[in-house]
């Protein structure tokens, strides 16, 4: 008897129709995808991108080589050589090297910095063709990364 009721119940196609209605409704809905290289996504202000050195109003490095970021970094990607400059009481980073290939973008360095001298900026297209391009020196770290021109 149960077999027969199951057999009859199988003709109740409401469950299948309900699902089909959902997909059909979405068929006429606006899609939500972003056509990436053509349309670009703007990160939110707190986004953790590439490490950048910041300058003060006078165009001087804010960094005074306290090494807090070096100590805070879990993957040892930052290394600083402090230097002296005339007319500046504080030390300044003669070399500020950053190996982006090992960076995990955790933001511990920025958090450790007491002088607001570094920032993880909003760049997210960080791929490079050469491994050497991931090694950032002080001069490269102020500028935005040169954009690779994607061809279609």
């Amino acid at each position: 008897m149960k077999g027969i009721t199951d057999f009859v119940k199988a003709f109740d196609y409401r469950d299948l129709i309900k699902g089909a209605a959902v997909t059909l409704r979405h068929f006429f809905k606006r899609n939500v995808t972003l056509q990436y290289p053509k349309e670009r996504w703007t990160p939110f202000p707190r986004f953790r991108g590439r490490l950048t050195l910041l300058l003060d109003e006078a165009g001087e490095d804010k960094c005074i080589c306290c090494m807090a970021c070096v100590r805070a970094c879990p993957t040892n990607v930052i290394s600083i050589t402090p230097g002296k400059k005339e007319g500046r009481k504080m030390r300044f980073p003669e070399e500020y090297n950053f190996d982006m290939d090992r960076c995990i973008f955790c933001g511990m360095c920025v958090e450790a910095c007491n002088f607001d001298a570094i920032l993880l900026n909003d760049e997210y297209e960080l791929a490079q063709y050469s491994r050497q391009d991931f090694k950032f020196h002080r001069e490269k770290m102020y500028l935005p990364t040169p954009k690779v021109d994607y061809k279609k």
Binding site: A10, H26, N31
Partner: protein, 337 residues
């Protein structure tokens, strides 16, 4: 039967036209599938190659042509070569009897009106059923000859599935055949031109046919032989390049075939929708529209439903579809008598 020039030229031209159209529609079908499913999934689908990604199927075809042809070391080489051919040839052969429209003179081009089918066999349906069963050997041999475990499992599933779904599929068609009293594809359409389309009196047969057609063509939710989440790619896991493309082509050609049969048997072939005859839309357009609708159902099902399990699939085939189809035949026979 006189072997005049025209009797050779016309079928040859027809064959060329049909095959070109079928292969082109396979291309269109791959594009349509990706687009339709993408839209159902709030995506856009291919957009890069050509405007709205229209050239994507051509890019895919080129890619498949230029890909390396890999043969597994332990494969049974000859069978491995044979299998894709066995899959695609029957799929294309079935188009021999599909009538895409009524008899036509091609706008007065020909003296005598000729059929829109390559050949109008009087056992057209039987021919299709017979030929399409051969296609399974391609899958079976392809899976077996790869000498790999996933394809083997896929092939086993496929064999079981197609064997068990051939039966209800055939049984579902018997109802309309009884009503039309003929096996000729043309005759079935003509039978529908007098009364109503067979989809209304034979509604259950139509449902069973749809379900079994999906199963026959290994499409979701009955796509067990190539269930990627379980068997990676099923029977064609080891295939690459053109040989893979043949399987792909065969699958889509089969989809078009079963849609054509559905159109002829249930949806009135090239007949216009009742009440819309005044529009004077050519018969072939009606046929294409109906086929398109049926193919859309294929895609719609794929986008909506989960996949059955192997044993459940068999259970449904034998315990549900076959009894319903038999009851349907019984009732139809009683009414026809």
């Amino acid at each position: 039967m006189d072997f005049t020039m025209i009797n050779i030229v016309i079928p040859t031209v027809k064959i060329l036209i049909v095959f070109t159209v079928v292969l082109l529609s396979v291309l269109v079908m791959t594009y349509a599938e990706r687009k339709v499913i993408a839209f159902m999934q709030v995506r856009l689908g291919p957009m890069r190659v050509g405007p709205w990604g229209l050239l994507q199927p051509i890019a895919d075809a080129l890619k498949l042509f230029s890909k390396e042809d890999i043969i597994p070391t332990m494969a049974d080489k000859w069978v491995y070569y044979l299998a894709p051919t066995l899959a695609i040839v029957p799929a294309l052969l079935t188009f021999l009897v599909v009538p895409f429209g009524d008899q036509t003179t091609f706008f007065g081009l020909l003296k005598h009106p000729t059929s829109m089918a390559i050949s109008d066999l009087n056992i057209g349906l039987l021919y299709i059923l017979a030929i399409s069963s051969v296609g399974i050997y391609g899958i079976l041999l392809g899976g077996w000859s790869s000498n790999s475990k996933y394809p083997l499992l896929g092939a086993l599933r496929s064999a079981a599935q197609i064997v068990s779904y051939e039966v209800p599929l055939t049984l579902a068609i018997i109802g309309p055949i009884l009503m039309a009293n003929t096996l000729s594809m043309k005759g079935i359409v003509e039978a529908q031109s007098k009364g109503m389309w067979f989809v209304i009196p034979q509604f259950f047969a139509f449902l069973i046919y749809t379900a079994c057609a999906v199963a026959e063509t290994n499409r979701a939710p009955y796509d067990l032989p190539e269930a990627e989440q379980e068997l990676v790619a099923g029977f064609h896991t080891e295939y690459s390049g053109m040989k893979f493309a043949f399987f792909y082509l065969a699958e889509y050609a089969n989809m078009i075939v079963v849609s054509a049969i559905a159109t002829v048997v249930f949806l009135g072939g090239w007949l216009p929708v009742p009440g819309l005859a005044f529009l004077h839309i050519p018969a072939i357009i009606w046929f294409a529209l109906k086929m398109g609708f049926f193919l859309f159902i294929f895609l719609w099902l794929r986008a909506t439903y989960p996949r059955y399990r192997y044993d459940q699939l068999m259970a449904i085939g034998w315990k549900f579809f076959i009894p319903v189809a038999l009851i349907n035949i019984f009732v139809t026979a009683l009414l026809v008598l």
